[in-house]
Amino acid sequence: MIHILWVVPLLPFAGFAVNGLLGARVLPRKVVGWIACAAVLASFVIALGAVSGLGHLPESTPPGLVVDHEAHRVTQTLYEWIPLGPGKDGHTVSVAWSYVLDPLSAVMLLVVTGVGLLIHLYSIGYMEHEDRAGFARFFAYLNLFMGMMLVLVLGGSLPVLFVGWEGVGLCSYLLIGFWYDRMFDAKAGMSVADAGRKAFLVNRIGDTGFILGTLLLLSALGTMEIQGILKGVPGLSAGMATAAALLLFVGVCGKSAQIPLYVWLPDAMAGPTPVSALIHAATMVTAGVYVLARLAGLYVASPVAMTVVAVTGGLTALVAATLGVAQTDIKKVLAYSTVSQLGYMVLAAGVGAFGASVFHLMTHAFFKALLFLGAGSVIHALSGEQDIMKMGGLRRRLPWTHATFLIGTLALAGVPPLAGFFSKDEILWSALTGRGGNLVLWLAGVLTAGLTAFYMTRLYMLTFAGPSRLTHEAEHHLHESPMVMLLPLILLAIGSAFAGLVGVPHFLGGDAVPNLFEHWLEPVMPAVTGVATHGAAGAGEAAAPLSEWAAMIVALLASAAGIALGYTMYRNGPLPERPSLGVRLVRGRYFVDEAYDRLIVGPYRFLCRLGAALDARVVDGLVNAVGFVTDLTGEMLRLTQTGYVRNYALGFFGGTILILYYVLR
């Protein structure tokens, strides 16, 4: 099915068109939901077929495809999109609309369509209380998002990728602001629409960097095709490679919510919970990590950029984890957790372990989507309550939600043999031994692992264990979610439990359990010197201060300590309020938003006011002056219009005489 790859992004677009045009008025709700799901299901099936075809590519190339057997890469060029004319060396520069399927995009393709399908299904149940127009709008947006995300994943050149990149940003904005007439944070005066705008604007900053990076590569290499760029990297000067890599990394920071652009993601929780699961946990926010892996060859060429990436990732992981500890909104805990886990992925990319990064991306998609959907199930059951201080004791009342949520919690906390354990362990090991990896990065990672285990245990204990703190009203309406919501939870729980087994490190699995994931990605990953892969006797391993076993045990101990601490502290419900400085700092999100307000938004506003004054006074003044002079001239000339015929006649004769004088003179 690899020759109909182009249909994969097209089907969700078709669903978007049908639901967007007909959904609100013509189609019944059931049909809207099923059209949306069917479109994604069809994409998933075709993607599955295409990816399975990638394993045994035919010798004879089907028409319209370019096959690279060595790299397991299939390129499908649909048409010439932007002909740019002759380049520096005389070659014609043009951008084709092409889709590329290789082991890396295959992983993303399956994660996006698979998790996306489950979340579409879940949304049918979650959005049942929406009115018909809202229901149709929601699924139309969701389908549009899927289409854009697939364009992003499959795009064979940076401009095509960028179309998807912007498209998912747009859908993110639309879906965060889905309930645009509600308040999100009444205390801060922030409406849901504001949250959407914030996400959009912060992403614009990143996108500017992305465009500049793309154009820089175009001017340096004369191509924007990803493969062309990677081929041209050895010819780049070190400064150029660093500049391009860092500019693109600005885009990555925006999309994947890294410091300093992470501030939008926690507020993105204003959207419906399936959106948070799909866009702000499993797929869109990982696009930045995907770009890092996609352009791995470029980043490897620049040690400076790699260091920046690694430090940013490590810092983000740690800072976000500390913020997750004190949140009281069930979704915000998960949001900070997502930022933190994205930090892990970026950290892995920064030390050259792109495989580990993508591996964690995949496992994270499973368990974080599961956790968000579980949180959604709780919120749904409590008729919209999101404050974990008003929950508790839901274990018996929501047995399925509880069981799946527990699996997700343990997977995220890194309990073996669940998915999170393997990917996190691989990242931590790379942080220690990868290129540029060191003890500090590793310790940041281990600390993050401990904090992650702690805040997830806290979240679990406050929500599901302990005494019930529900209001009577909520208690009365409490109900387990319908099957259409539970089925995705169960499937994702299975994924969260077992997805890690495809990437068992060699030192644990030996020859009996091969590291399938690493093997699968091998053709597309650049050889990074200094990265000791698990079990292989690399150069880095000899220099490592700890053995693999010891490193793993320390990380496990950190997780166990976090879980134990969370359990003992929150066994009997929430702690009494202690307004210490630390608590205030963390509650206030380190006042980063306030600092941005003062340092960036404030001066910008001042600049805007200055511009407005300039416009009103100087520009408008000039225009008004022209008008005034015209007016004045008219005022004076009107005095000659006396209405007396004699005056006109006098002018007439006088004029005639003057003319005669000049003619006859």
Partner: protein, 99 residues
């Protein structure tokens, strides 16, 4: 006969008409003054026609008379209409088209 006399006569007539248009306020008188000016021109045409022994001047004089007749008809109609509406033939009273 010397043509000078005719030309001086015509110039005098034209000046009388011209001053009349400028200083008189009665529209009928102003129309009459315009007629005088036209006839001063006619006189010039005829004088030159005779002097140069050419018919062109006389033909032109006939055209001018025709135009003058039309002008008198239109002008008097306007005066009548003005008089009916405003009971006046004073040109200065009809000065509404002004600032």
């Amino acid at each position: 006969m010397r043509i000078d006399f005719f030309l001086v006569m015509a110039a005098l007539l034209f000046t009388i008409g011209c001053v009349g248009v400028l200083v008189r306020r009665n529209i009928i008188v102003m129309l009459m003054c315009i007629e005088i000016m036209l006839n001063a021109v006619n006189l010039t045409f005829i004088a030159f026609s005779h002097e140069l022994q050419s018919m062109t001047g006389q033909v032109f004089a006939l055209f001018v008379i025709t135009v003058a007749a039309c002008e008198a008809a239109v002008g008097l109609a306007i005066v009548l209409a003005l008089y009916r509406r405003r009971r006046t033939t004073d040109a200065d009273d009809a000065s509404l088209l002004r600032w």
